[in-house]
Symmetry: C2
Subunit: 569 residues, 2 copies
C-alpha cells in the first residue's frame, strides 16, 4: 500500500489530504485554520496597516504541517512508512523576504513591527502604483513578455510587491537575502533546500522564454532594483512534479512523517487542480469556480490571447503551454447579493422551506425561462480580469422594473458570469487555442446546480464536473506521487488518480437559443462600457470610479473588511 499527502494552502486555512496513489481514493482529510488569518488591520503587536494591505504569518503555515498532517495519519491509520511523498499548493503570488537560511524577516525581533518584513498575501493590493509603473515602462520599452500576460501585470504579482518593499522600506529590501514565493519557502522548510517552481515563476514573476525580465528593464523601474533576480531570487527553476528533496528531520518531527520522504516542488492551487480532473491533455478547460474563477487550459502551442492572466511554458504541465484566464468575482458576487440585497422575506421563506437562502433563491430562479426576468447584468462588481484586465470597471444591471424581485436578479447575476465565461472560451478559440471540453471544479459546482445548467446553456457545451471535492489537495498528492517516482509523469498520475463525477450538464437547445440572443446584448454592453476609455462616452464606469475615489479621498475610509476582495490563482 502506498499513499501521498497533498497540502492545499488557502487564504484562511490549510488542508491536508491523504490519498491512495493507486486510484486517488481520498482516505482522510484535515483542515487547520491560520491563527492570524489575513492580517489586514494591524500586525499582531498592534502596528496599524494602511488600506489595501493583506499580510500573513509564516508560523501559521508551519502550524498546518504540525496539526493537519498528523491528523490525517491518525484518522486514516496509515503509517508514516506507507507515505511515499508529499506535495503542496499555495495561493499566489504570496511572497516574503527572508535571510539566506530561509528565516522570514518578520521573525527577526528588530523587524517584527515592520509591515514590509511580513508575508504579502496574494490579495495585498497596495502595490498598484508599482504595478502601474511596471506596465507603463514595459510598454515604453516594448518588452516582449507583456503580451503573454494579456498586456498587463497585476498589482498582486511578484515584482509589484517586491518593488513596493524596495520603495517603501529600502532597509527591509536591503536586509532580504531572498525574495521568495511562500509556496517555495514552505517547500524549503520541508526539505531544507531552496527550490523555485516553474509555475509561480512563470505566472507571477514574468519568467518567459527561459529568462526573467532584463537587468535594463528592472533598472528602469528603480536603479536599486536592477539586480533583484541575481541577488535575491534564483534562475534555477524546477519543473512541476519533480522532487525538491527529502523531508528534513525537523519537518519530519513537525509532521510525523519519515525523514527523507520525497517532497514535490511547489505549485499553485488553481493550476494543480487541472490533473485532478483525470487528464492533462490539451484542449480541456478546467474552471476552478469559487469566490472568483480561474480557468486553466494546456495547449501544444503558444499564442497571444487577449486578456488572459498568462501563458507559461510548463506552467501547468511540463512540456505544454499552460494558459490561465479568470473572472475576478463569481461566488463573491452571489454572496454579496445574498448578504446585502435580499429582503428578510426570503430568509423567512427559506427557513420555512428548510433550506438556505442561496438554495431558495436558486430554486425560485430555476423556475424561470431564459429572458423571463427581463434583466441583463455585467459581472464586474470586482473589476474584470479576463478578457479586459481592468480593475476600474464595475457592475451593471439593466431591465429593472418595479416587478423585479430578488430571484430575478440572482439569476441575472449567475447568467452574467456565464456570459463572461463564454467570452473567455471564444477568445481562446479565436486566438488559436482550442477548447474541446469543459470541466468544472472548485466549491461552487456542487452547491449550485442551477448555475452549472446555465453555464451549459450559455456556453452551448456539455460541462463535466471533477470527482474530487478537494481538487487542489488531490492535485498536490498526485504531484507528490510523480515526485516519488510512482508515476513517470503527471499525465500518468492524472489517468490513475484523477477523474470526473457522474454529473454532466447538457445544454438545452431552446435555452441556448435564447441565451445566444442575450449574449449578443452582453457583448454590446461589454464592449461599450468595457473598452471605452474614460474620455470616451462609453467610459461611464471609469468616470464614476474617479468621482468615487475623489469623494472617498475626502471622507473616512470604509471600515468593512469586505471592501477588499480578489482572487488567488
Amino acid at each position: 500500500m502506498a499513499y501521498t499527502i497533498g497540502i492545499d494552502y488557502g487564504t484562511e486555512s490549510g488542508r491536508a489530504l491523504l490519498v491512495d496513489v493507486k486510484d486517488g481514493s481520498e482516505i482522510a482529510t484535515a483542515v487547520h485554520p491560520y491563527s492570524d488569518g489575513v492580517i489586514d488591520r494591524a500586525l499582531p503587536d498592534g502596528t496599524p496597516l494602511p488600506n489595501d494591505w493583506a499580510l500573513q504569518n509564516p508560523d501559521d503555515y508551519i502550524d498546518v504541517l504540525k496539526h493537519a498532517v498528523p491528523a490525517v495519519l491518525k484518522e486514516s491509520g496509515v503509517s508514516a512508512d506507507e507515505i511515499v511523498g508529499v506535495g503542496i499548493d499555495f495561493t499566489a503570488c504570496t511572497m516574503l523576504p527572508t535571510l539566506a537560511d530561509g528565516t522570514p524577516l518578520c521573525r527577526l525581533p528588530e523587524l517584527r513591527n515592520e509591515p514590509h518584513a511580513w508575508i504579502k498575501l496574494w490579495k495585498h493590493h497596495a502595490a498598484q502604483p508599482q504595478a502601474d509603473r511596471i506596465n507603463e515602462i514595459a510598454r515604453q520599452l516594448g518588452e516582449s513578455w507583456l503580451p503573454r500576460y494579456g498586456g498587463k501585470i497585476s498589482s498582486e504579482w511578484f515584482f509589484s510587491k517586491a518593488l513596493q518593499i524596495l520603495e517603501e522600506a529600502p532597509e527591509v529590501y536591503a536586509r532580504a537575502d531572498r525574495l521568495i514565493e511562500a509556496a517555495d519557502w514552505l517547500v524549503w522548510q520541508l526539505t531544507g533546500v531552496e527550490t523555485r517552481n516553474a509555475c509561480t515563476a512563470g505566472y507571477k514573476a514574468i519568467y518567459q522564454d527561459g529568462t526573467f525580465p532584463s537587468r535594463e528593464y528592472f533598472s528602469a523601474l528603480h536603479p536599486d532594483f536592477a539586480d533583484v533576480v541575481d541577488t535575491k531570487m534564483s534562475r534555477h527553476l524546477l519543473p512541476l512534479g519533480s522532487s525538491a528533496g527529502g523531508l528534513s528531520d525537523e519537518a519530519a518531527r513537525w509532521t510525523g512523517l519519515n525523514p527523507g520522504t520525497p517532497v514535490a516542488v511547489a505549485n499553485v492551487d488553481a493550476h494543480v487542480t487541472l490533473p485532478a480532473t483525470g487528464t492533462v491533455a490539451p484542449g480541456t478547460l478546467v474552471m476552478i469556480m469559487g469566490t472568483s474563477t480561474c480557468d486553466v487550459l494546456v495547449a501544444d502551442t503558444v499564442h497571444d490571447v487577449e486578456g488572459m492572466c498568462g501563458v507559461v511554458d510548463g506552467g501547468i504541465v511540463p512540456g505544454s503551454y499552460g494558459y490561465e484566464a479568470g473572472q475576478s468575482a463569481v461566488g463573491d458576487i452571489f454572496a454579496w447579493f445574498v448578504k446585502h440585497n435580499v429582503p428578510a422575506e426570503y430568509a423567512e421563506r427559506a427557513a420555512e422551506a428548510g433550506t438556505d437562502l442561496h438554495s431558495f433563491l436558486a430554486d425560485e430562479a430555476a423556475a424561470q425561462k431564459p429572458g423571463e426576468h427581463g434583466l441583463l447584468a455585467l459581472d464586474w462588481m470586482n473589476g474584470n480580469r479576463s478578457v479586459l484586465v481592468d480593475a476600474d470597471l464595475s457592475g451593471l444591471i439593466v431591465g429593472v422594473t418595479l416587478s423585479t424581485r430578488a430571484p430575478d436578479i440572482y439569476r441575472a447575476l449567475l447568467e452574467a458570469t456565464a456570459y463572461s465565461k463564454r467570452l473567455i472560451v471564444e477568445t481562446f478559440e479565436r486566438s488559436g487555442v482550442p477548447v474541446e471540453r469543459i470541466i468544472a471544479a472548485g466549491g461552487l459546482p456542487a452547491k449550485n446546480p442551477l448555475m452549472m445548467q446555465i453555464y451549459a446553456d450559455v456556453l452551448e457545451r456539455e460541462i463535466a464536473v471533477i470527482r474530487s471535492d478537494q481538487g487542489p489537495a488531490l492535485g498536490s498528492a498526485m504531484h507528490a506521487a510523480v515526485a516519488a517516482g510512482v508515476y513517470s509523469d503527471i499525465g500518468e498520475a492524472a489517468a490513475a488518480m484523477g477523474g470526473l463525477s457522474d454529473v454532466v450538464y447538457q445544454p438545452l437547445p431552446e435555452n441556448s437559443e435564447l441565451y445566444t440572443q442575450l449574449y449578443a446584448d452582453y457583448l454590446y454592453l461589454h464592449d461599450l462600457f468595457g473598452r471605452s476609455t474614460a474620455d470616451e462616452p462609453g467610459g461611464v464606469m471609469k468616470r464614476l470610479r474617479k468621482l468615487r475615489l475623489a469623494a472617498a479621498a475626502k471622507t473616512e475610509p470604509k471600515t468593512s473588511d469586505e471592501t477588499e476582495v480578489g482572487v488567488t490563482g
Copy 2:
C-alpha cells in the same frame, strides 16, 4: 364667516377638506376609503378580470360624499349655512359609460357582471392595443394634435378606453348614452346637471384648438367610432373655476350641505394643486411628487415640448396654456427598493435607532458626497413618461461593486429621479417655455428632505415647498370659492388661500458641480438606451422586454398586485 369644501378623489380613498375662504386655513379634514378599492382581480360578484384591468365602483365615490363631508362639518363645527361652495378633483382619465340620466351602466342588473360596464380607473392598462392604433393612425393622417401630447396618446386616456369598450363589448358601447370622466360624472351627481371640464377634455380627450379630433379620424379607428363625440360626449366645455350648478336636493341629503350650494366644475388632482401654491403666474413649475410625479406649469404661449403629457389651453388656469409633464415612478421606485432590495440588517438598525427604514436609509445616504457611492441609475423602473414617452424602457444601475450597500443604491435612485427632472426642466426651457421657479408639492417632500436637497443640487435651483399637506383638496376648495363668487378668478383665490411653507432648499454649489458631471453621464445613458429602437444596438431595454413578454406568455402570470403600477395626473 365663509368656508368651502374641496374633495380630492384618489385611487384608494376620497378626502374632504373644509377651508376658510379668507386665507385658506384648513379647518377640518376627513378621509373615507373606497369599499371596493381598485377592482383588478374580479368584479364584486366574482366575475374574473383579465390582466392589466383596473376598475372602480361608482357607489364608492358617493360614499365619500355621505361620510367625509358630514365628518368635516361635524369636526369643524361649521354649519351648512357657512359653506359657500364645493369643488372636487379626481384621478384621470377615470371614465365610465352611463345612461342619459347619468346612471352608470354597471348599476343595471343585466350589466352588473360585464366588466366594460364599470368605471375604468386611470391605471387600467388593457387598452394598449387601442392606444397603439390611435397613435399609428394619427401619425399616418398627420393629426395636428399629436405634438401637443409629446407625440403619443397613452393607453390610460379617454379614447383608448372608449375604443376598447366598443371593440370588446359593442353591446355596452351601444347601450352607453354617455361616456364621461368620473370627475364630471360626480359633479353631475352633485348638481343633477351634466357638465364637462376643460382640463380632462384637453389632457385626456384630445380637445385642442376648440375641437375634438375629427369624425374622419375616429372613423379610421373604427367605423362605429365615428360619432363618439356627437353621440356620447359633449362639445360644451366649462372653464375651470366656473360653477356647474347648485347642489341637488339628493346631494344635499348625502352631504348635509344646503341645496343650491355652488359646485365648481371638476378638475384633476395634479392640475388643481398648482394654485394651492399661492400663484398661477406663468413660469412656476409645480412638481406633485408622490408614487409618481406630475409637473404642471402655465405659460402665455403654446409650444411643442418633447415628451410632455400635454399642453392645454385653459387646462390649468383659464386664459393660459397649461403644460403637464411627468415621471412614471418616483416614490414607487423608493418603495420598491426598500421593500424588495434591502436586507434585514437595515430594518433592525432602523428599529434600534427608533426610525423607519426609509428615513434610516436616507440618513445613511445623506452622509455621502455626490459621486461617493460610484453609482448612476436610470429611473425607468416603470417606463419613462417624460421626455421619452416610452413604457418599454426599464431601469438601469451602473457602477455596482462588492462594496455597494443599500444606502448607496437608495441615494442613486433619488438622484436618478432628480436627473430626470432636470431634463424635463431643460426641455421646457429649450422649447421656449420658461421655468422661473420650482415648487414641490405632494406627499414626498415632507417625508424625504434628502431627496429635496438632491433635487435642489441637481437642478441648481432653489426649491420651495407648498404649505398645505393637502394640495389637491385645497386647490379644489379654492376653485369652489371662485365658483361661489368669493374671488373673481383662481389667481385671486390663489393669492388669498394658497401659499408656501417656510422650507426652501438651496443648491450647494460644490454638490451642483459634481452633479453636473454626473448628469452628463445620465444624459449619455438616457439617450443611448432611451432613444435607440429595438433594432439599434442601444435598444437593449426593448429587446429585453420583448424576451420577457415572450417568456411570460408561455408562463403563469405573476400574481403580485405590484406588477401594475402607474400614475394619475
